[in-house]
Amino acid sequence: MTSRLDGDMDRQRFLGTDRYIATDDLTMAVNAAVTLERPILIKGEPGTGKTQLAIEVARSLGKPLFEWHIKSTTKAQQGLYEYDAVARLRDSQLGDDRVHDIRNYIVRGKIWEAFAAEEQPVLLIDEIDKADIEFPNDLLQELDRMEFYVYETRELVRARHRPIIIVTSNNEKELPDAFLRRCFFHYIQFPDRDTMERIIDVHYPGLKKQLLREALEVFYKVRDVAGLKKKPSTSELLDWIKLLLAEDIPPEALRSDNARSAIPPLYGALLKNEQDVHLFERLVFLNRKAGGSS
């Protein structure tokens, strides 16, 4: 036990990276999960960097990353292993020698790969809420004890190093309590202006101050429009700035008091939903009319 505690002392800590700005509470949550070797659940608006977090944690701690992207048809078992019975049947017909060893037909899933890694890996279980409602429950034992049983070969697979498991959710489905109890939890809040400036700075260093200011002004204004179905988030802002730079749009063009360009240029990058675009255009039109009459 003491040696383990000693190990903690020089354990690396995640503090964000040159590409990823992490707030204090986020780094604390990640470090707690790393130290206690328990899964961490990350929630937040789409586009706030949930998936990116796992990639950056792996990069900054210098650990291998295993990504398991969940779809609506994904089953928990697929993360552990799959037994390819059809291939074995085929081989038996062809008289292949491989057929005598069932192990040749067990296909490892992402969790098994992570468990078998030489050094402690980072395992990303992305968008867990996309799967069937029972999916998290089916993984309780595996994530808790970090081991599972392979019935076909009667062997117990145990993690060589407990992986750092990062689970993301978009809140499409509620997750079961039993699952939540076993995780640390962090809700990525939408970044405030200061954090946002730092985020943009790591992505576009040397961006002209004026353009940045105007762009943020427009961005937060668009976000404040009531009734948007999908508010633009960090990733949309970054895309938009990229476009602004590529098109070489001058900062003045973003000024909203400039009546001619009351609709921000290239706003398609910010608003992804047709209804939102309509709503936005209507509002701008009304605004302009009101402005013209007064």
Partner: protein, 391 residues
């Protein structure tokens, strides 16, 4: 030292379990939060709170606890000054009183008015007919004789247990009997699942394969079958507007849960009672209507029909031609309802109104009779029963 904090959280309604507390203690022991209170706060939050909707509650309890002031903690829950409201709150409402509360715009409105009035009022009050206190005729306060009154504080100790005065959870519990998480709804809706094989054959049918391989003289002959899908078809008719506004959130949850749970789900809106047409988009309800007859002809009788509505209206709206509050209907709603029920033998009505109130509302009784007593409350138990009736 964290045990009292733990209980504070639990009392404050943050669902913390012992496991989570132990995790937090382990993390502390490992020196994760040695540096500052901020670190401790972040650590406690990530370990104990698992739902963003509870973050705010956690923050308030944390702030109060570490200010070390028990009084301020009690304020959190009480919101009513302890000196002024001396006794424990009790909300005993009889059925008649409940009905009368409606005359003030419902329980929520009453509570909202109470809250507002509390803000206006600073001192303790007795008598009178507006302010809150004891022995008055205002709707608020104790020992009053306004039948619309909410009784506040009539018995009990003058203790520091102000925590429980005007205990917010006294009426949050009322909510709980209604409240269904999408997860709960889904689990209840699962009872309806009936699997059938449809679509492309992409799963190995082991029995058929063995069978046909044997027939083939040992030469492998793979047989595939389609994956099993949920084959239940549901026609969902939602009441919208008017008296249903209070229940919109619950209904939306039901709707979003239902959408992903069935292969075929069609939904239509109606107002109060079904008539000759329904609509799919509430914003364009007056321009884009679907005649109910078309609906009956489009969707076969194998669909299961689920109404969601409070069925609270004037009985005229059901039984008389022209009874609709929105338009002139040539034929009474009852006839249309009967036509739908004749087409879809499997039908239920889910009612967000509490079951106890059904017998006081003639229109609910009427519709329940027409439905053949297949009206169920929109609670978990009711949903369960309803799904069983639909099978």
């Amino acid at each position: 030292m964290l045990v009292p904090f733990f209980f504070c959280l639990r009392d404050g309604g943050v669902k913390v379990s012992v496991t989570e507390l132990l995790v937090l203690l382990e993390a502390l022991q490992r020196g994760l939060a040695d540096n500052s209170v901020d670190d401790f706060y972040y650590l406690a939050r990530t370990a104990l709170v698992k739902d963003e909707s509870q973050l705010d509650r956690f923050d308030r309890i944390f702030a109060a606890y570490y200010r070390g002031a028990e009084d301020s903690l009690s304020d959190l829950f009480a919101e009513v000054p302890e000196d002024w409201l001396r006794r424990q709150a009790e909300l005993h409402l009889s059925e008649e009183e409940k009905a009368q509360i409606e005359s003030l715009g419902g329980f929520e409105a009453l509570m909202e008015a109470l809250r507002e009035r509390l803000e206006d009022q600073e001192d303790r009050h007795e008598g009178g007919n507006r302010w809150i206190g004891t022995a008055g005729t205002s709707p608020f306060g104790a020992y009053g004789y306004n039948p619309e009154g909410v009784r506040i504080g009539q018995s009990g100790s003058r203790h520091r247990s102000a925590v429980k005065v005007w205990d917010q959870r006294a009426y949050r519990n009322l909510d709980d009997s209604l409240e269904l998480g999408t997860r709960n709804i889904k689990i209840a809706l699962r009872r309806l699942r009936k699997f059938a094989r449809e679509g492309a054959a992409d799963q190995l049918d082991l029995n058929a394969t063995i069978d046909s391989t044997a027939r083939n003289g040992g030469l492998l002959d793979l047989r595939l079958v389609p994956e099993r899908h949920n084959a239940v078809k549901v026609l969902l008719c939602l009441d919208i507007g008017g008296s249903m506004d209070d229940h919109v959130r619950v209904c939306e949850e039901l709707f979003s849960a239902a959408r992903s749970e069935f292969k075929h789900l069609e939904y239509f809106y109606f107002h109060n009672c079904v008539y000759e047409s329904m609509w799919k988009d509430n914003r364009r309800r007056h321009t884009e209507k679907t005649p109910t007859l078309d609906l009956v002809h489009t969707y076969g009788p194998d669909y299961k029909l689920v109404f969601v509505g409070d069925a609270t209206m004037s009985p005229y709206e059901i039984v008389y031609p022209g009874g609709s509050v929105e338009h002139w209907n040539d034929e009474p709603g009852a006839l249309w309802l009967q036509r739908l029920l004749d087409t879809y033998p499997k039908a239920i009505w889910l009612n967000p109104e509490p079951e106890e109130r059904w017998r006081f509302t003639p229109s609910i009784k009427l519709i329940n009779e027409m439905m053949g007593e297949r009206m169920f409350p929109l609670t978990l138990a009711g949903l369960d029963e309803g799904m069983r009736a639909l099978r």
